[in-house]
């Protein structure tokens, strides 16, 4: 009888040990999950825009007129495409202080509608009237046109927008041949990605830090993406029509996608996976409101610059998590 009892006791101890092992395993998983939860929720956390100031004039007091382009970099450079005045205006924005406002006017550039700055501080601007991209020195002197070299047939292209990635490669949104042209920093052809099937009208593109190219379709209100290795676009989102009216510009910063809703006067925020994370700002004339905004630039420091075209100003915000 004792033997039986002892045997039973041994078995139950073993069972308990096994159970302990199971328990400790689940406990570990639970603890890891619990620790990871704030991280994941933080990454999915949306951002808010905190209004800082508006830019109305150049250094001589000349007013901006329907600016459509804006570019910024980590060296505090701020370049405005002052479309209505056929010029660029160059500022610096450091420690929340705006300085400069020098006028860059040249016969090679009229109606700048998109502006970009590369890692060397060179300024690029898309001329909306002549539909070509100009390259300027960091001082704002005309250097050359961006004429893609070695583009496969058809070689004709019409740039609607363009982007420069961290390695200074140039991505051109060519609406004439329905493709994105990827050029090296010198303008030599690297590859092309055709627009997705059944697109409506692609109004802008962006490139994230991993080299993923994003397209915004203003008719279908959808974002398409193509990873660095991919040669085709696939939908990143379904129609975002319930969140926005007419998206005209897209940019990406630190895993967050910002879409400019031109007609709705707001900015729609998406996660890197395309999940809707919120909408910021609204339509109006007062400072902090937008009236037919155009391009947006988000700096590494979390400063947001928006070309508030209808209000003839640039508005500056900071990102708040």
């Amino acid at each position: 009888m004792k033997r039986v009892e002892m045997r039973f006791a041994q078995v139950s101890v073993m069972k308990n040990r096994k159970g302990d092992h199971k328990l400790s395993f689940f406990l570990k998983v639970f603890i890891v999950a619990l620790l990871a939860f704030p991280l994941t929720s933080f990454s999915a956390e949306t951002v808010k825009f905190n209004y800082l100031q508006s830019v109305y004039f150049d250094e001589k007091g000349g007013g901006l007129k329907q600016p459509e382009g804006v570019a910024c970099n980590e060296k505090s450079l701020l370049v405005v495409g002052d479309t209505g005045n056929d010029r660029l205006v160059r500022y610096t924005f450091q420690d929340k202080i705006l300085r400069g406002g020098s006028d860059i006017h040249m016969p090679q550039l009229s109606s700048p509608i998109r502006v970009q700055v590369n890692s060397k501080g060179e300024i690029f601007a898309l001329d909306g009237k002549k539909r070509h991209i100009v390259r300027l020195t960091p001082e704002g002197v005309f250097k050359s046109y961006v004429d893609p070299v070695g583009v496969p047939s058809p070689s004709a292209f019409v740039p609607k927008s363009f982007r420069i990635d961290r390695s200074d490669n140039i991505y051109i949104l060519d609406i004439f041949t329905a493709r994105v042209l990827v050029l090296d920093p010198d303008g030599k052809y690297q590859r092309q990605i055709p627009f997705p099937k059944d697109y409506g009208f692609i109004s802008d593109l962006s490139v994230d830090s991993k080299g993923t190219v994003l397209l915004i379709d203003c008719v279908k209100a959808m974002v398409f993406s193509a990873t660095k290795e991919s040669n085709s676009f696939s939908p990143l989102t379904k129609s975002l029509r319930e969140y926005l009216s007419f998206p005209t510009s897209v940019t990406e910063s630190r895993g967050i996608i910002y879409i400019v809703d031109q007609d709705g006067g707001g900015i729609v925020i998406l996660g890197a996976d395309g999940a809707f994370m919120g909408r910021q700002l609204s339509k109006g004339w007062n400072e902090g409101l937008l009236y037919f905004p155009s391009q947006i630039c988000v700096s590494e420091k979390g400063e947001v610059f928006i070309a508030d075209r209808g209000n003839s100003r640039i508005q500056i915000f900071t990102l708040v998590k």
Binding site: Y56, G84, A156, S245, G284, R309, N311
Partner: protein, 441 residues
């Protein structure tokens, strides 16, 4: 033996159940023998006259009034046994094909009585009116065009149902009975020399016939749409396409706007000299985004009326216009004759006149406006000096924004805002207080 008995018993049980359910279904109201239908007609005697019509709905013919009506009580009008929009489908289940490409909206709404008399009629399929008369009651514009057309398409006179299925189509848009080309070639032989000759020997047997021809008839020979692109009218297809003998004969010689630029160079040069362009004009489709290349019922070979054409891309604007028009209609109806001051919609947009304010190709002004000055643009329709003496113009700075001057759009939203007078705020006081802050309460 026992097994056989079991099977026999089971069969009898099933049979009796079926018989019971059938008889219950037939006479669920336990009517006296011979009372069906006849009983109803005792009171509804005017119906007797109706039943003399040559086409009588089967349940009516068999006296099964309770097939559709409940003789005692109902939650629906006319003591119908079911929701009137769903009752017909109970028997006519397959009236709309599965996975249809197009469905007649009245069928989708379940509004069968718009075309059919549920009891009896003089016309086949218990239709309310004979042949095309019924269809053209709603499709008036097509009726008018058909009546005026110099060159008729014979099947139209035979009846709309020659080409259309009035309920739905599994194969094609516009309720067409078959795919467009298959439908056309079921009458028109494409292997005939005359067909080739008419089409300048181009291999168009499988092309979209309705890109040139108006199937309802037109004023041009060959029932081409009323507005024909001159190269098509003059049969010089080679102006745009490769030679008919070429292996890729239907391919155009150039793509996008570059093709059109050859003839429309003056217009194109004018467009390219402007500061702002309507971007679709220079995309892959180019001019064909808005214009048809061969023929169109619309002027300037447009693909549709301006409202639907512009609304194809500017969906948000079109949708808000529809909502505003509906809101305006409802608010005006609720006023019951009382005059409601101010408008919610801007009439040029409602009437499809986007080009009243915007240049569809290019402009020197923002938003492709026709005039650089908004005030002057509005002035072309509105004598604003009678409406306001508020200071406006290039010298009057908007107090909300030191970089903007006051103009009509400082107070009004031309596409509508949801508030009367097209102002962006619920009341005029709210609007004025935006700038005149000292009067805020």
């Amino acid at each position: 033996m026992k097994l056989r008995l079991k099977w026999l018993f089971l069969a009898i049980l099933v049979m009796s159940l079926l018989t019971f359910s059938h008889s219950y279904g037939q006479n669920k109201f336990k009517l006296k023998p011979g009372a069906q239908g006849q009983l109803c007609l005792n009171c509804h005697d005017t119906f007797k006259e109706k039943l003399k019509n040559p086409f009588v709905h089967t349940p009516v013919k068999t006296g099964d009034c309770t097939g559709c009506h409940n003789p005692h009580t109902s939650s629906h009008g006319k003591l119908l046994a079911e929701n009137p929009n769903k009752i017909c489908v109970k028997c006519h289940e397959g009236i709309v094909p599965q996975n249809p490409k197009s469905v007649h909206p009245v069928v989708m709404e379940g509004n069968c009585v718009k075309c059919h008399d549920p009891h009896a009629s003089k016309y086949k399929f218990v239709l309310l009116k004979p042949g095309n008369e019924l269809c053209l009651d709603c499709h008036k514009s097509i009726g008018d065009a058909v009546a005026k057309a110099r060159f008729k398409h014979a099947p139209v006179d035979k009846g709309c149902v020659s080409c259309h299925d009035p309920h739905g189509s599994a194969k094609e848009r516009y309720l067409l009975k078959n795919e467009l080309v298959s439908l056309c070639v079921s009458c028109h032989r494409t292997d005939q020399p005359s067909f080739s000759k008419q089409h300048m020997n181009y291999p168009v047997a499988k092309s979209n016939c309705s890109s040139c021809h108006d199937a309802h008839g037109s004023n041009r020979a060959g029932i081409l749409f009323d507005n024909v692109h001159p190269p098509v009218a003059n049969k010089v297809c080679t102006q745009c396409h490769e030679a008919p003998t070429s292996p890729d004969a239907l391919k155009t010689k150039r793509t996008g706007f570059e093709l059109c630029r050859g003839c429309h160079s003056r217009m194109m040069n004018d467009v390219f000299s402007k500061n702002r362009i309507h971007w679709p004009l220079v995309d892959q489709k180019g001019c064909l985004n808005c214009h048809k290349p061969h023929a169109s019922p619309q002027k300037n070979l447009l693909r549709g009326d301006m409202n639907s054409l512009c609304g194809k891309c500017h969906i948000d604007t079109l949708e808000s216009q529809k909502k505003l028009a509906e809101k305006e209609k409802q608010e005006n109806a609720a006023a019951k004759g009382r005059v409601v001051k101010g408008i919610l919609t801007h009439s040029p947009i409602q009437q499809g006149g986007c080009d009243a304010c915007h240049s569809s190709h290019a402009s020197d002004s923002d938003f492709l406006l026709k005039q650089p000055s908004v005030i002057k643009l509005c002035e072309s329709c509105h004598d604003w000096s009678k409406h306001t003496n508020h200071p406006m113009g290039e010298k009057v700075i908007d107090p909300r924004n030191k970089n903007v001057t006051t103009q009509c759009l400082s107070c009004h939203i031309s596409h509508g805002s949801g508030y009367r007078y097209l102002i962006p705020f619920p009341t005029v006081t709210d609007l004025c207080n935006q700038c005149h802050k000292q009067y805020r309460r």
